[in-house]
Symmetry: D2
Subunit: 337 residues, 4 copies
C-alpha cells in the first residue's frame, strides 16, 4: 500500500483528494494536515466523508511527513509549496504539487505571481496526456485547472502546426475560487449571472502559452479570457482556433482521434461536451466543429475543475509515478444528471 | 415633494428603497448615508441605479438629517435604530424603522436580541393590511420579512378564532442574509441545496406570535422553522394550520376574500403562488387548500423579501403616513419569468 | 457474478442503476431494455457512461429476460411492472420493482393510482433499514423517494409510540419528475422559485402512513406536503413531529442512535443534514432538535432521491437478497461540493 | 393615448410587452391575441400581471386589428409576421415586428430561414442607437437578441474601421428558447452546466454581419458562437476583437464615450457589466479592456434579452415612431440583486 499524505487538506482540492483516495485500492491515507484545524476530525469540515475515514488534522514538521508518507500531495497556496518541496524530497518520498510553484520557469513565476521563488528546481508539468515522462519523476507540478481544459482542447492542432490564432473563452464553476466565501461566490452576485475576470491577463495564460508553444514553436497569438458561471464545478472551454489552412470537421476528427488514441480519460463524444457528463469524474470530453466561413475551428472541452483540473489529475500522476494503471481509483462515471 | 433620507443605504434594503424611490412621483431623494462609504457615489455600490441618481453617500449627524428630511428610513442593524429614533422624531420628521428595534415590547426585545433597549417608546407595527392605524403615526416599526409572509397567510383564520396549531415552514431567498458574503451565501454551499436554520427558535417567531395572538387571544401553539433556498429573492411560506373544526376550500375562499377585500397588494390567485410572480413587486400572493383528512389547512404565501418583506412595505407605510394612495411608486408588476 | 437486467433503462433511475452497477464487483450487466431505443447504444442517452459499458438497448420478451438474468430491476412506469412480475418470477430470477405497483395493498393501490391491479401478489416493502426480511424474498417493492426520507426521519419516534401529529414538509430536486421536460422542470419556472404540488393528497402519503402505522398502530394524524426546489437531486424532509410528551434533544439522540445502530447508510451528523453531503450517495443523513415550547420535535433528513430514494436502495436490496454485504458497490461518498 | 395591440401575446416577449405597456403613460392596451387561448384572461398565463389588466385574449382578423390599434407589435414566430404586415399597414397603423421576417434582405432570409418570403417590402432595422431613421417609418424590424448585444459591443470600433477579426462568444439566459419546455430548458440539463449550440452557423450571425459591414465595408471576418447559461434572463457577450492597430484602454474609452454620447440606454460602467444590473431593464451596459499582447480588445456587453433584446427595444422604437421621448415607460432600474 502507498502511504499518502495531504498537506493543506481542508480546502476543496484537499477534499477531493480525500474523496478519491479513501476508495483507492492501493493507497492508505496516512495523514492530512491543516494548521488551523489541527486536532479536529477531518470530517468536521468534509462532512460528506463521514463514515469513510477517521483521520484527525495534524500539523507535523516535514521530517515527520517524509518518514510516514510514500507520496505527499501539496494542496497549499501558491508560494507555500516551495517551502515544503526541498524538505520532502529525500529520494524515497514523491511529491505532487497542486500549487503553481513549479509549473513555470522560476523567472516567469516570479514575474507573474509577484513573489520570489526560493527553490529553482525544475519539475515536469503533469498534464498527463502530454507528459508521460512525469511517470519517472519524484516531483510533478500538477497543472492549473484552466490550462488543463484549454491545452487539451488545442494540443492536437498545435502539434500539427495548424493554429494561427487561438482564443480561449473559458467558463468555470465557482469552486475554483475556493472554500472561503468571496464577493464572486456570494450567491446573489453569481446566480443568474456570469462574471468575467482578468480579461486579458489571467495567470493561467502563461501555462497555456508554455505548453502550446512547446508543441508549436511558431505559435504566439494565444488569448485567454475566463468567466465564472453559476455552477459549483466544471470548466467549459470554447476554443476559437483560426487555422493556417481550411479544415473540415472530418479532418478534425481524424487529427483528434489519432492524437488521443488509447488515452482513457479523453473522450470525444459525438455531441457537444457537457459539464454534467464529467462532474465528479476525471474525464476531459472534447468535441469540435469547423467553421467553413473564416478558417475558424470551434473546439469545446469539458472537465471537472476539481478532478481532472486538480485532484483527479494529481492521482493520475501518482498512479503513473508508482507504476500503476493510471485509472486506478479514478474509474468513476459522473453522477449525471 | 416629500424629502426622503435613507440611513444605512448601502445594503440590500437600502438599495431597494432607492430603486423604488427614484421613480416615486411624490418623493425627492434627499440623502443616503453610509459611514464607511461617505463621499462615494451611491452608484459605486448600487450599480444598477447608474443614470437614476447622482447622490453621494454622506455621514451626517441627526440634526442635519432631521432638518433636511420629511421622512427617514432606518435601514440599519438591530440595536442601532434605537439610537437614531429619539434624535430624529421632532414632531415634523417621520421615521420608518426597518430594523427590529421597535417591533416588540421592550422587555421581549431585550430577551430575544440579547441587548439593552435604550428607548422604551412604543411604535405601531407596520404590517399595513393589519395595522391601518400606522397612517396616523410618526414612527412605524416595519415588520420582519418572515413575519410578513407568515402572518398574512394565517391572519384571516386567526381572526376567526379557527386555528388550533400553526406550523410555518418558510423558505427564503438568500438576500435576506445581507450583502456581505457568508457561509450560507457561498454558492457551493447553497446551490443545489436547502439550508434550514434556527429550527425552533428564530427571532422572527416572536413577531408572528405577537400578531396572531392579538387576533386570537387563545392561540398559543405557533411554530416556525425557516430554510434558505437557492434563490436570490423571495419568501415562500407553507403554513400547515390545524383548525378547530373542519373547513372546506370554499370556506377558506370566503374567509380570505372577505378579510382581504380592497387590499391592493394582497392577491388570491387561483393556482399556487409563485416567487416568480411577485419578484421585485410589493404583492403578497396567497392560496389555500383544505385537507379533509386531519382538519389541516395548507395556506401558501409568496412575497419578495426585499419589497413586501422590507423596503416596499416601508414605502407603503410612508404613503399612508403622508396621506397618499398606498400604491404610489409601488404599482409595478414582477418581471416574470 | 450476478447477471443483472434493467427494464426501462433509459430514464434517470435506469441511468443510476447503470452508473452504480458498472462498478459493482459482483454484478455483470447483462441487458438494458427500452422499447423506443432498441438497437441504440445505452451511451447514446446516458452519455456520462461512455467508456464504462457497450450495451445496446434491447426489447426482448420476458422469457428471454428471465433466462439471461439472475436479477431484474423494473424501472418502468406505475401500472407496467405488474405485467412483468408474474412472467419473470420463476423461482430463480429475483425482481426488484422500482415502481409503485407492489408497495401498497392491492385495493389501496387501485384507489390511489386509479387503475386496476392485475396481480394480487404481496411483496415486502424494501425500505431496508425497517425491513431486513426483504433479504429472503424473490420480489421486493422498492420504496418511493419521498417515503424513504420521511419514514426514516420519523420511524424511531413512531416505533417508540411517541408521535401525536406528524407534518412532513418535503423539498425535492426536480429529477424526481423524470427525464422528459415538463412545466415544472422548465428552467424559467423553477429557477429562483419553489413549487409546491399535491398539497394535501400526494400518492406517496399512503406509503408513509402504512409504514408509520405499522410501527405505531395508534398513529393516524400524518400529513405530507411536497415541494420542488431548484436542485437537480436530493430530497430534504422537514418533519414537524408533535410528541405525546416533552422530549429533549438528548432524548432524541439516544432514541435515534439506538434505533439506527449498525446501519451503515444512516448517518446522524452533529450539524443539520445537507443535500450536498449525500448527493450521488446512498446515505440518509438525519438530525433533530427539540422545541421546548410546544412538544414539537423538528427532524431533518437528506437523501439523494435517485440513489437512496430509488436505484441505490434497489441495489442495497439486491445485495441482501443475494447474501452480500449491503454496502457492496454503494460505498461511495458524495462528490461535495 | 396610443392604442396598442400585441399579436401573439402569450409568450415571453408578449408578456414583457404587456408588463411594460401597462405602466406606459401614453399607451392604452387595446388588444392581445392568441389563437389557442382566445376567450381566456391574459392573466391566466401571465399571472404576475394580475391586478394590472383585465384583457381577454382575442383572435380577430387583420382588419379589426388595424381599426382598433395605432400600433401593432408582432410577437409571432418567424415566417408568420410576413402574413400580417401587408394587411396591417394601411398608412395609419404602425407595425413593429419582433420576428426575423424583415431584418434581412428577402433572399438572405429565405436562405437562412429555409422558407419562402411572401412580402419583399423593406424595413428599417430597429437597433435604435444605430438607426435613428426608424423614427420616420411605419414598419420597423426589431433586432434579434444576440445581434443587439453583439452589435452594440462592436459598433464603435467597426465604425472607426479598426476591426480586423471579431469573435463574439455569447452567453444567453434560457428564456430566449421560449415559454415551452425543451431539452435545453429542462432544469437537470441546464443547471450547473452551460450548453453551446449552433457553434458556427447561428441564424443571428447574419444580422451582426449586416450591421457591422454596413459600418465598415471591409470587415468580413466575423464569428459568432452562442451558449445557454443557467440564467432565466440576460445576454452577456464577450467580444474578442483583433484590431488593425494597437489600442489602449484609454483609446477605447474615448471612442465608446464619443460614439454613445447622449444615448440614454447605453451605459459604460467602470467595472465589468453584470446581467444583474440590467435585468428587467432596457439598458445595454458595455465595458472594454485592451490586451496589449496581441492587438486584441475584449469588449463586454450585458442586456436583458427580453427587454433591450426584444420587447423593451420594441417600445423604444414605438416611442420614437410616435415622436415621444425614447425612455417613456422604460425608465426602470433593474431590481438588483
Amino acid at each position: 500500500m502507498i502511504k499518502a499524505g495531504i498537506i493543506g487538506a481542508s480546502g476543496y482540492t484537499g477534499g477531493e483528494l480525500l474523496r478519491l483516495l479513501v476508495n483507492h485500492p492501493n493507497v492508505e491515507l496516512e495523514l492530512a494536515t491543516s494548521r488551523s484545524l489541527a486536532g479536529k476530525p477531518v470530517t468536521s469540515t468534509h462532512r460528506h466523508l463521514e463514515g469513510f475515514l477517521d483521520l484527525k488534522y495534524e500539523n507535523p514538521d516535514s521530517e515527520y511527513i517524509r518518514e510516514r508518507c510514500d507520496v505527499v500531495f501539496l494542496a497549499v497556496p501558491h508560494g507555500s509549496a516551495m517551502n515544503y518541496v526541498p524538505e520532502l524530497l529525500d529520494g524515497s518520498t514523491k511529491v505532487i504539487d497542486l500549487s503553481a510553484d513549479y509549473r513555470l520557469e522560476t523567472s516567469e513565476f516570479e514575474q507573474i505571481y509577484g513573489m520570489k521563488h526560493s527553490d529553482p528546481r525544475k519539475a515536469v508539468y503533469g498534464l498527463v496526456e502530454l507528459h508521460p515522462e512525469a511517470a519517472e519523476e519524484d516531483l510533478v507540478a500538477n497543472p492549473g485547472c484552466f490550462p488543463t481544459g484549454a491545452t487539451l482542447a488545442a494540443a492536437p492542432l498545435a502539434a500539427a502546426g495548424l493554429i494561427d490564432i487561438a482564443v480561449f473563452d473559458s467558463k468555470t464553476g465557482v469552486s475554483g475560487t475556493g472554500i472561503l466565501p468571496t464577493e464572486t461566490s456570494h450567491y446573489p452576485n453569481l446566480a443568474e449571472n456570469i462574471i468575467p475576470y482578468k480579461l486579458t491577463a489571467h495567470r493561467h495564460r502563461a501555462e497555456i502559452l508554455k505548453e502550446l508553444t512547446r508543441l508549436d514553436g511558431k505559435l504566439r497569438n494565444i488569448n485567454f479570457t475566463p468567466h465564472v458561471i453559476p455552477s459549483i464545478r466544471g470548466i467549459f472551454t470554447t476554443a476559437h482556433l483560426f487555422t493556417k489552412e481550411p479544415l473540415s470537421t472530418d479532418d478534425l476528427k481524424a487529427i483528434y482521434e489519432d492524437f488521443y488514441r488509447n488515452m482513457p480519460f479523453i473522450r470525444l463524444p459525438s455531441g457537444v461536451p457537457s459539464l454534467t457528463a464529467v462532474r465528479g469524474s476525471n474525464f476531459c470530453d472534447i468535441s469540435f466543429e469547423a467553421d467553413t466561413a473564416n478558417n475558424r475551428v470551434v473546439v469545446l472541452s469539458a472537465i471537472d475543475n476539481l478532478v481532472k483540473g486538480a485532484s483527479g489529475q494529481a492521482i493520475q500522476n501518482m498512479n503513473l509515478m508508482f507504476g500503476l494503471d493510471e485509472t486506478l481509483g479514478l474509474w468513476l462515471p459522473a453522477a449525471a444528471p
